[in-house]
Amino acid sequence: MKERLQGIRDEALKAIEAADMPDKLNDVRVKFLGKKGELTAVLKGMKDVAAEDRPKVGQMVNETRAAIESLLEESKKKMERAIRAEKLKQEVIDVTLPSKKNMVGHRHPNTIALEEVERIFVGMGYEVVEGPEVEYDLYNFEKLNIPADHPAKDEQDTFYINKDIVLRTQTSPVQARVMEQGKLPIRMIAPGRVFRSDEVDATHSPSFHQIEGLVIDKNISFADLKGTLEVFAKELFGPDTKTKFRPHHFPFTEPSAEVDVSCFKCGGKGCRFCKGSGWIEILGCGMVHPHVLEMCGIDPDTYTGFAFGVGLERIALLKYEIDDMRLLYENDIRFLKQF
C-alpha cells in the first residue's frame, strides 16, 4: 500500500512538472484527487484493508493528498506569476508620449503678486479692505493733506468727474475712510485700482493698481515702519533682500521715505535690470501726518501710525520680468498662460 501511494505521488509529481498551463494542472488535480481520481480510488479500497491498519492507511492517503495539493498550489502560483510577468512585458508603454492635459486657466500676474502681498500682511495681522474707485475729492485729496490748488491735484494727473468727484489717483483715500470709522488699533492693507491721466506706453497706463498699508496704534514709530517693510521685502523678494530708506516727501506722511530693495537679479552688484545701481525703488511710505490723523478724528498726541503704498504692476513687472506694461491689459492668452 505504501508503495502504491508513493507511486501515485511520484506519478502526480511528474504530471505536475509536465504541466505548462493552469488547465493542465487542473487535469492533474482531477486525475489524482478528483472523485474518480486515483487517490479516491485508494480510499474506496479501504474496505479491503484490515481494520487495525485503516487509520494508518488513512493517514498515509491524507499525507499524499496534502503533498499533491501543495505541489499543485505551488506550481499554479508559479505559473500565474510567469503569466503576469509575461503580460506586464506586453504592456510596456512609451512614457515619453505626450500627456493628456485638462484645460486649466491661469491667474493674472497682477493677481498673483497681489495674493502674495496679501498673504504676507494677513499673516502679520492686517485686514484686507476696499474702498470706492470713483471717489470724493475730499477723500482722495483734502483729507490726505492735499488742499485745493495743490499741484498734485492738477488735471494733468487726475481724471475728474466733476469738481467734487474724481477717479481716485491712489489707494490712500481708503486710509482716511478706515481711520474715520474710529476703530483702533488699525492694521490694514487696501489693494485696488487707481487712475492717472497718463497716455498708454510701455511703462505707463491710465489705470493701474496700488496696495495701501496703514497701521495706527499707540507708540508706533518709524523704526516699526522700517521693520515691517523689511519683513515684507524679504518675504516678497527673498531672504537675502536688503532695504534702503531714502527721505522723500508725501503730503500725508511726515517723515516720509522711499524704499529701495537690493536688486534681486544681480543681488546688488549692479546690472542692466537695476540700471547699474544695485537698487530698485519699490514703494513710498512714512509716518501718518498728524494733521491727517486730526482730520480723521484721531488724536495725534495719543496715536501715531505709518502708511505705505506699493504699485502692484511695478511688483508684477519686476518679479516676472515683464518688459511692457501694455501686456497686462491685452489679455493675450499666450501671455497669461505663462503665469
Partner: protein
C-alpha cells in the same frame, strides 16, 4: 534741478568727495541725485598746445602740417582745419588719447573716440587738434569758439597743461529730484546748504555787499502793486550806463554746466542769480517804461500781448500783468514783453525781483500756453524774502563785472512780511516717533547745520523763511532723521494689541470665483474701467437702455476712454477679438472688475460700483459648457440646486435663441449666452463665442461657506427611466421642475440621458429621456412607494401635454 560739483564747492570749499560718494550721501539725506554726468568722461590725454609752425601738405591742398608745442616737446599734427595760425594755443589730444565725438555738433560717440598716430596722405600725424564739439560740447555753451574749426584759447593758458581743466570740463553735473516741499532746493545755494550739512562741512553762501551810487532808485521808478494777493512782494533796482559784453568765463562755465547758454553779461547775470538763489528776475529797458512807473495788476479781459519771443498771446482777467503807465510790459512771472525787452542799445535797465502767487502762475502759465524757467520756479511758491537778496546779488555782480552803474537804493513793495515759523521742540517725542535714542544736543546740531535756530528760553526751533515746510514736531523729526541717517534708525515690529488678519467675505467669494474659473480653463484678464460711449451701439443696446446712463469723465484721455463702464462685456469681447486676431485657439477668459452705475446724472453722489464676474470663450465648448462653469461656481459658494434659466433674457447683444437669465431662487443673478453674430462681427470674432456675466454683489448676499454633512446612503437606490414625447417649445427645465416638485421625499436625483428630434418623432415634437433616482435614508424603498411617486410625476407631465413613450 541740476548743479555742477564745482559750483557746489564754491559754497562748500572743504567738500572733497567723489561724484559717487556725493550722489549716495545726498540721496540718503533727502536730496535725491537722479544721476550725474562727468563732462570729461570721454576725454583723455588732452593738453594745451601751441602751434609753432605751419607748412603746406605736399600732397593735399586742404591739409596743413603743424608743429605743435605740447609742453613735453614738439609733435607733428596734420589737420584740415581752416582756422589755425602759428602762435595759436589749441586743445591737442595726444596719441592714445580720447575725444568725445566728431566735429559736427551732436556727433558724440558713446565711450568716446580713441585717437592714434597715423599717416594722412603719407605724412605722419601724432595727435589731433580739437574743436569744441570733439570735446563733447558746442558753440552755444562756448560762444567764443569759432563757427567751424579748432577751438582757440585766449593767451592766458599755459602750454602743456590740461586743456580739459582750461575749458572747465573737469567737472561733474548732478541731476536732482527735488520734492515739492523743498522750494529752497531749486537753487544752487539751497543744494549747497544741504551738501554742507550732509558732509558736515562749513557752508559759505555768497556775501552780498551794499551796492549802488548816491542816487536813489525811487527817483527813477515808481512801483504800485494793485493785486497784492497775487504779488506779495515786488523789488526793483536800476542800473544805468550799461555796457553789454560777454560775461566772465567762470559764469559762462557755471551756466553752461546746468544747460543754460551764455548770451551776454546782463542776461547771464539774471540767469545766474535765478539758478544761484532760485529767484527768477527780469530786466526791462527803463527807457521803454512809460512814465517810469510799474503797475502790477490783473490783465484786461481778452487782452492780447506780445511776449519777447515775438508771439502774440491771449490773456484773461485772472492773469497777472506787469504794466507801465500806459501798457502791459510783461506777463508776471512768465515772460516779459517784446515792447520792453533789453536790446544791444539799452542804456538804463530796470531789474525786477518779485514774488508771485505760485498757484496763479501755474494756472496762468497753462492758460497762456507758455511755461518758462521762471514760471517753473514761481509756481512752486517762492520765499518773498529771497527776492531782495537776489536783486542785491544781481547788482553786486553788475558792479563786479563792470556791466553798468548801479543806482543806489531799492524800490521794495512788500505788504505783509513773511515771518519765520516757531516750532516747539521736544527731543523725547521726536525719539518716540522715530524709535530712536538721539541726544538733544545732536538734534540741535543738525538744526544748526541747515540754518534752523534754537530759542532756548522758549524751547522753540525757528524755521527760516526759506523753509516753508516746517510747522510741527513731525517736520522737525524728519530733519533729525535725515541727518541722523534713515539707515541708522533701528528696525522693530509694531507691538501692542494683536489684530486678526483676514480677507472680507466678498474677497473670499471673489477668490473662489477665480479658482473655479481657472479649474474650468479660463484665464484671468484685466480691462480698463473707462471706455468709449460707442460701446453701447456696438452692443446693440436700444436708445432707452438704462445702461447708456454712464458716468462721464470731464477730462478723458480721449473719447475712447471717456465713460465709466456700465457693462463689463465690451472689455471681454475686445479681449476675445485680440486673441482671435492673433490666431490663438480655444480661448477662455474671465475678468473680475467693477461696473459703475450712477444713481442719478449728473452725479451728486458716488456711483454704485458692482463687481462683475465676466466669462468669455470661443473654440471648444458651447453654451452648456459655460452653464457648467456657472453651476460649479454656485455650488462652491454654497448656492445649491436652486438655479434656473429664463430664456427671455432680452439681451440684444446675445443670440436671440441662445441666451438666458440666470435665476437663483427669485433673484436674477446674471446671464449667459452666445454672442449675437452681428456683435461678434463688429468686434471681429469669427465663429461662435459665449459669454456669461455674474453680478457678484447678489452672489455675495446669497453665498455661504457653511456645510453640513448629510451622511452617506446606506440603503439601495431605485432607478426609473422615462422617455417622453413633447412639443419642441417645452423646455427641459419645465420637465425638471415637475420632476422636482412631484418626486416627493424620496426623490434623490434626476438626469437627462437622451434628447432626440428627427424622423422617428413627428414634426414639431422632440423626445426626451430622464433617469430618476429614488432613495430613502432609513429603509429600502418598496416598489409601491416608487411607483406612487412616478405616477404623480407622469400625471403632472401629461397635464402639460407630454406623453410617455412606451
Amino acid at each position: 534741478m541740476n548743479t555742477s560739483l564745482s559750483w557746489i564747492k564754491a559754497y562748500v570749499p572743504d567738500l572733497n568727495v567723489t561724484a559717487q560718494e556725493y550722489a549716495d550721501a545726498m540721496t540718503l539725506s533727502g536730496t535725491k541725485v537722479e544721476g550725474y554726468e562727468r563732462l570729461d568722461a570721454d576725454l583723455d590725454k588732452i593738453v594745451v598746445g601751441q602751434i609753432d609752425k605751419i607748412e603746406k601738405h605736399p600732397d593735399a591742398d586742404k591739409l596743413i602740417i603743424c608743429q605743435v608745442n605740447v609742453g613735453t616737446g614738439i609733435v607733428q599734427i596734420v589737420t584740415g582745419a581752416p582756422n589755425v595760425k602759428e602762435g595759436d594755443k589749441v586743445p591737442v589730444v595726444l596719441d592714445g588719447g580720447r575725444v568725445a565725438g566728431g566735429h559736427e555738433p551732436g556727433s558724440r560717440v558713446e565711450g568716446g573716440v580713441k585717437i592714434k598716430k597715423g599717416k594722412l596722405r603719407g605724412v605722419e600725424s601724432f595727435g589731433m587738434m580739437c574743436s569744441i564739439e570733439e570735446l563733447g560740447s558746442d558753440k552755444d555753451m562756448y560762444p567764443e569758439s569759432p563757427e567751424y574749426g579748432i577751438y582757440i584759447f585766449k593767451d592766458d593758458v599755459e602750454v602743456g597743461t590740461s586743456a580739459v581743466e582750461a575749458l572747465g570740463l573737469d567737472d561733474v553735473v548732478f541731476e536732482y529730484e527735488v520734492t515739492s516741499n523743498r522750494v529752497d532746493c531749486f537753487s544752487v545755494i539751497g543744494i549747497a546748504r544741504e551738501a554742507a550739512a550732509t558732509f558736515r562741512k562749513e557752508f559759505h553762501p555768497p556775501v552780498v555787499t551794499e551796492t549802488g551810487n548816491d542816487e536813489n532808485a525811487s527817483d527813477y521808478i515808481k512801483v504800485t502793486v494793485k493785486d497784492t494777493d497775487l504779488c506779495p512782494r515786488y523789488c526793483a533796482r536800476v542800473v544805468k550806463n550799461i555796457k553789454i559784453g560777454p560775461s566772465p568765463k567762470w559764469m559762462q562755465r557755471r551756466l553752461a554746466s546746468v544747460g543754460i547758454r551764455p548770451i551776454n553779461n546782463l542776461v547771464d547775470i539774471t540767469n545766474y542769480v535765478m539758478e544761484e538763489y532760485g529767484q527768477p528776475m527780469h530786466a526791462y529797458d527803463l527807457d521803454t517804461i512809460a512814465g517810469h512807473e510799474i503797475i502790477v495788476r490783473r490783465a484786461e479781459k481778452d487782452e492780447k500781448f506780445v511776449t519777447l519771443d515775438g508771439q502774440e498771446r491771449q490773456m484773461d482777467d485772472s492773469v497777472l500783468m506787469i504794466c507801465d503807465g500806459e501798457k502791459s510790459v510783461g506777463i508776471a512771472g512768465i515772460m516779459g514783453g517784446e515792447n520792453s525787452m533789453i536790446t544791444d542799445n539799452v542804456h538804463t535797465m530796470l531789474f525786477e525781483a518779485a514774488c508771485f502767487d505760485g498757484t496763479n502762475i501755474r494756472k496762468s502759465s497753462k492758460k497762456v500756453g507758455l511755461r518758462t524757467d521762471a514760471s517753473g520756479k514761481f509756481e512752486k511758491g517762492l520765499d518773498p524774502n529771497n527776492a531782495e537778496a537776489a536783486i542785491n546779488r544781481a547788482c553786486q555782480l553788475v558792479e563786479e563785472m563792470g556791466a553798468g552803474e548801479v543806482v543806489g537804493g531799492i524800490v521794495d513793495v512788500y505788504g505783509k512780511k513773511k515771518e519765520p515759523v516757531r516750532v516747539p521742540f521736544d527731543a523725547g517725542e521726536i525719539n518716540a516717533l522715530l524709535g530712536t535714542d538721539i541726544s538733544e544736543e545732536d538734534m540741535l546740531s543738525y538744526f544748526k547745520m541747515i540754518g534752523l535756530e534754537y530759542d532756548e528760553a522758549a524751547n522753540e526751533v525757528i524755521a527760516p523763511a526759506f523753509r516753508h515746510d516746517l510747522f510741527r514736531l513731525a517736520d522737525l523729526a524728519e530733519e533729525v532723521a535725515r541727518f541722523y541717517g534713515y539707515d541708522n534708525i533701528p528696525t522693530t515690529l509694531p507691538k501692542g494689541e494683536a489684530t486678526t488678519g483676514k480677507l472680507s467675505f466678498k474677497l473670499r467669494i471673489e477668490q473662489t470665483a477665480r479658482d473655479i474659473a481657472e479649474f474650468c480653463g479660463f484665464s484671468q484678464g484685466m480691462n480698463y474701467s473707462f471706455e468709449s460711449p460707442k460701446v453701447f451701439d456696438k452692443l446693440l443696446l436700444p436708445a432707452e437702455s438704462p445702461l447708456r446712463n454712464a458716468v462721464e469723465i470731464m477730462n478723458p484721455l480721449g473719447e475712447d476712454y471717456s465713460i465709466m463702464r456700465t457693462i463689463s462685456l465690451n472689455g471681454m469681447l475686445n479681449s476675445l477679438a485680440t486673441n482671435y486676431n492673433r490666431r490663438n485657439k480655444n480661448v477662455r477668459l474671465y475678468e473680475l472688475g467693477n461696473i459703475y452705475l450712477p444713481k442719478s446724472l449728473p452725479l451728486t453722489e458716488l456711483p454704485e460700483e458692482r463687481m462683475q464676474f465676466t466669462l468669455g470663450m470661443y473654440g471648444d465648448g458651447d453654451f452648456f459648457s459655460m452653464k457648467g462653469v456657472i453651476e460649479e461656481f454656485f455650488e462652491k459658494v454654497g448656492l445649491r440646486g436652486k438655479e434656473s434659466y429664463d430664456p427671455n433674457a432680452g439681451k440684444p447683444f446675445l443670440h436671440p435663441g441662445r441666451q438666458a437669465n440666470i435665476i437663483y431662487g427669485k433673484d436674477t443673478v446674471g446671464y449667459l449666452g452666445e454672442v449675437h453674430p452681428d456683435v461678434a462681427d463688429s468686434y471681429g470674432i469669427g465663429g461662435r463665442a459665449y459669454v456669461a456675466v455674474i453680478d457678484m454683489p447678489k452672489i455675495v448676499d446669497l453665498a455661504t461657506f457653511d456645510r453640513k454633512y448629510a451622511g452617506l446612503a446606506k440603503f439601495p437606490a431605485v432607478n426609473r427611466d422615462i422617455s417622453m414625447v413633447m412639443k419642441k417649445d417645452i423646455l427641459a427645465g419645465q420637465v425638471e421642475e415637475i420632476i422636482a416638485k412631484k418626486g416627493g421625499a424620496y426623490l434623490e436625483s434626476y438626469s437627462l440621458f437622451d434628447i432626440y428630434e428627427g424622423s422617428q418623432i413627428k414634426e414639431g415634437y422632440k423626445s426626451i429621456a430622464y433617469s430618476i433616482v429614488f432613495r430613502a435614508k432609513d429603509k429600502t424603498l418598496s416598489d409601491m412607494e416608487v411607483t406612487e411617486a412616478m405616477e404623480r410625476i407622469l400625471k403632472a407631465l401629461e397635464a402639460m401635454g407630454i406623453e410617455l413613450r412606451k
